[in-house]
Symmetry: C2
Amino acid sequence: MKANQNYKNIAQSYLFSTIAKKVNEFSQKNPDKKIIKLGIGDVTLPLCRAVVDALKSASDEMGVKETFHGYGPEQGYNFLKEEIQKYYQDNKVNLDIDEIFISDGAKSDIGNILDLFDKDNKVLVPDPVYPVYVDTNTMAGREIEFIDANAQNNFLPMPDNNIKADIIYLCSPNNPTGAVYNKEQLKQWVDFANKNNAIILFDAAYECFITDSNLPRSIFEIEGAKTCAIEFCSFSKMAGFTGTRCGWTVVPKTLEFDDMNLNKMWLRRQTTKFNGVPYIVQKGAQAVFSEEGKKQIKENLNYYKENAKMISEVLTKHNIWHIGGKHSPYIWLKCPNDMNSWDFFDYLLENIQIVGTPGAGFGKNGEKYFRLTSFGSKENTKEAVERLDKFLN
Amino acid sequence: MKANQNYKNIAQSYLFSTIAKKVNEFSQKNPDKKIIKLGIGDVTLPLCRAVVDALKSASDEMGVKETFHGYGPEQGYNFLKEEIQKYYQDNKVNLDIDEIFISDGAKSDIGNILDLFDKDNKVLVPDPVYPVYVDTNTMAGREIEFIDANAQNNFLPMPDNNIKADIIYLCSPNNPTGAVYNKEQLKQWVDFANKNNAIILFDAAYECFITDSNLPRSIFEIEGAKTCAIEFCSFSKMAGFTGTRCGWTVVPKTLEFDDMNLNKMWLRRQTTKFNGVPYIVQKGAQAVFSEEGKKQIKENLNYYKENAKMISEVLTKHNIWHIGGKHSPYIWLKCPNDMNSWDFFDYLLENIQIVGTPGAGFGKNGEKYFRLTSFGSKENTKEAVERLDKFLN
């Protein structure tokens, strides 16, 4: 048997392990100093009441013969797909129920969707970037090209005629930068893809943080997207499902390349290589859309947004260039005094015991930048902001 | 973008849709006749008490900040991996904790494991067969060869020197035939794989039905398997998790091909393209191994086994050749009077309203055979057996 040799080309990322090591060493030397972690990419608030109640009630159903659920539809139960359909309708996007596929999270589907594409497609990925786009394509042996996201383009790279790409990754609101495309910008990408027979893989995992109704929360708000885009979304950040695992993928029925229909192909892929999301988890996700659920998750999102606002305000006060934080849980800042991002990491840790994520860990354009997140507790975030304020004076 | 052209070569299976259509037509014409379905491949008993309690208590944990669980380890929590490790130890198989990967079911991992292999490997699949082995490799463009399972070899094909294969699928207890390899037979496969630098993908999803301690429940009971085999297992049939989604995959650390370590590759694959099984589901699965859990799932397994025994007994009484049913929920029988399997399907439906699965749907060697399952209710199975007894007289 010959193993997949492409695995030899996957870069090893030491970003988070290096951070953990540095934090560990510091706290062993300074056991009395309180470290505040603003590098967390995971939610910290618990599941809301409505979701917990739904999970428990579905668990009870599973314990009774008459209401027990065995194998479900691989693409998800209609009761959940209909709620997602309505969620898009409220945003003026009409989807057919068969265009929505329930997933166990955006990460799985972003990886698995590549099964539908030939190996010899050229991939375009913005830099800095969520590492999964690059690693999954490297595993499959695809050629990857990067497009620069930087201060000149506000970390929102745009297409131009020099770009040759078959598969284009866009993430908006962006991880790690928090930058958000407006409709005109996304329209340029959609037009580019349609013109060049390319497909856009649109990662909308952070759409729930968008409050400005002029900003697109779905690529399907853009005319023409249904012939060139697949969208990935998730309950992870929206409702704290990072450990509960549920999301969805939208594959339009009109998405065809050389007479091959991607909606039918994805259905075939999922029915063959996936067995659906647990019934109880889908019932929990359904509760996110109930009246109480909607109210409760909004409270949680507002909690994180308040944190983001506090961080953004102190940076503004001290004239530190930054984006994100408004329609995103991430704040992306330029390290002061032209510092390198790992130096700034050490500097913050040593002096005021705040831990963030060095931008260099997300790609070459991340160098001299730094990511803070709003997923900490309000108390800790407040304390961190006070430390920053004093220190930056 | 060029779509994956291999999808054009996937066979469309109309097996279960054709069955559903025939049953529908019959019941519309004969609304007063009670149809008994013995074709079901899904469990029908609810989750046991211990599991439901664990799911509910884990749901409560998720609703409280102090006990909330966000992203977990992609390869599963140690609390569950340790229980599985013990389950193997009780069976005299020693596994390192890092050799066990928690999955959302055997089907996903049986499909996804192919990411680790080069496209140009030759695949060997027994016929008749669970269609997933064939379809997943067809999607990836691999060449597939079949090995005949038939009455001559008791539906347990053995290796010989004419076979050229890099990836070998074995399923024992078998779906659809219920045939079980003994240790000597599996040893021949393990030796063959080691000698020919091949890998065995061992589907052990039905191991819990084995009661004879001389029959191997895991391929790792066989000396040499840790250098040539990956094993897939599931809580689906063991504990009724078909709609709750949990299983595990064992990838030995000693599994190396050309200096590439498959355990490390699988860890890398899973951390990149998977985000783990829901915390609550893993807590539910853990409860399967509690004292009450073990007792309760045994009761359920015995319930299905009793059904299988009834079916097997009536076939024996009427001299109908069959295998399975003893260490498997499936009974595989030779259609009487040399009938074709779809003719026998119609014959049973028309005359005594029993629905089974025509063997021809599982491959060419399934022709003239028929699958019955023990997943119905005891009452229905008993009634079906009475009808069969009368009819076969």
